[in-house]
Symmetry: C2
Amino acid sequence: MSTRLPTLAVVGATGAVGTVMLDILSSRENVWGEIRLVASPRSAGKRLTVRGEEVEVLPLAPEVFDGVDVAMFDVPDEVSKEWAPVAVEHGAVAVDNSGAFRMDPDVPLVVPEVNAEQARNRPRGIVSNPNCTTLSMIVAMGALHRSYGLTELFVASYQAASGSGQEGIDVLHDQISKVSSDRTLGSRAGDVRSAVGELGPFPAPLAMNVVPWAGSLKEDGHSSEEMKVRNESRKILGLPDLRVAATCVRVPVITTHALAVHATFGTEVDAGAAREALAGAPGVVVQDDPANAEFPTPADVVGTDPTWVGRIRRSVDDPTSLDLFLCGDNLRKGAALNTAQIAEVVAREFTGS
Amino acid sequence: MSTRLPTLAVVGATGAVGTVMLDILSSRENVWGEIRLVASPRSAGKRLTVRGEEVEVLPLAPEVFDGVDVAMFDVPDEVSKEWAPVAVEHGAVAVDNSGAFRMDPDVPLVVPEVNAEQARNRPRGIVSNPNCTTLSMIVAMGALHRSYGLTELFVASYQAASGSGQEGIDVLHDQISKVSSDRTLGSRAGDVRSAVGELGPFPAPLAMNVVPWAGSLKEDGHSSEEMKVRNESRKILGLPDLRVAATCVRVPVITTHALAVHATFGTEVDAGAAREALAGAPGVVVQDDPANAEFPTPADVVGTDPTWVGRIRRSVDDPTSLDLFLCGDNLRKGAALNTAQIAEVVAREFTGS
């Protein structure tokens, strides 16, 4: 086993997640030799800063993977589907943040705090990073599952605009600017819809509104986002029979997803013990003192790495259930950070550490 | 039984709910003789329009109830607690929209589409109007309960600023205005908190944020709003053993509460049949075609009377559960409209209709 530092390629370096990835690569302990930045030909040639150095963005092509040990993909599903196997053919391990391979039985779906060991069992040379909504809760739910044995999960999400990428961020800023000057808005049907202008990636106005839809239409009226929360939670936790119901809703927040969770376990739970289990879990911060206005909110959590948990209560009518409110930065732990953590797990195979 | 039109007093005529009440009294079929408007001495003397006529607001005092048949109260709990019994002593039936009497076993808690008959059984002369969050879903849940027999309810709310009254509306407009000019906001921890200025009635910034708190702290970390959803749903539906878990969250919407609901029944459910039961229920509109971006959102529902229901799905992992998304205008059906409907039920006793 060599001890040279592995070479990393970041594919999709100029997108919303890619931008956060460069920040994360610059602030975490460095485990990488060369870092190559890659994007669509349209963005190639830009110079971006990573680890304090300017690096020129290369256009996506097979030869950018020559000599690459780990290739991260922060790109749309169809780009990952085509190019992750190309990276693998060139000898790289692909760590993919798209939905292209997550439910492939030959591709592990990894959250290092929950199932790091699965990153080493990758028949296709690919490791998948979960969906951002699943990631906003799964580290905390993994800790509670280890304590009590999870049997059922109901999730209602409060998802940020940046889950729809840079376009989502831009459109929400535009809409907020358009509704801000008229103090009569929000009291008559349709007045916000008339005021916001372009809907962008959202199917309804997002400023001064909430929109019960994210993703595409799947069987029986469920959205793709809701099915991802169910299927990915089951796969990550290794609970193929877990009962999950999710309703995914977009809210006018720039970045950081929040979730209200009702979780049922195989045994009676205690809120104090649950709080301790969560406080002791890696990657989780408990903020839970409502008498002093202490609970996580997206505005305070954005830009931080952990999953924040508050409002931890035993359900009034069911001693085997907990009610919680969780927040996680959907671009950091929900995307770039978890991808970086997976890549670091893989990097240890090269450095032997 | 006389056939004269009964006299109505509207106490709290100048508040956020009172303003909507005057609009509702002006647009519904008129069942009232004199309408007297009453408010705190601070607001007395104002002239407000109801049924196309200017009416001077009277200061709250015992004599304003002389000759009043029905007195509506849209005022804080402590004002109702003191003054509703005064109205009753003067011979009026009090219809109270505060939390003061809702759980009193001698005060019926009425939603006319669900349990109108209970308005006539009022040992204390008082009928209570439910909390706005409960009202945003209970008409729809009552219809589904009649079809399938409700056994368990999980609710996550998306509650509008106007649930905290006119101050909530004003503060949210102020905050939106303050965050609208800086397009970098929302990506760094605390930057929204620094920008929004006054928090007003909310324990955290509401613009570009969601806040998992409404009301006051109750036992075991639950909020008063969450306990109201549980206790009032049980009382209205006549289901003292119903299992309810609620997480109540404020969102940056001016008016109209939304809820994600996971409801479990005593029998298997079918989404199509549930949709038909809801479509046939009075006070409910089904808007459920996500392929064509048809689902209720607060921006479209605000200012309308019904409970709007969409995203109607049978849970993937439980054939006895439905997942839904509901919206109701918290100042109309959630407050003023339901109060007016109760008052009309009582008015029929005077007119014999």
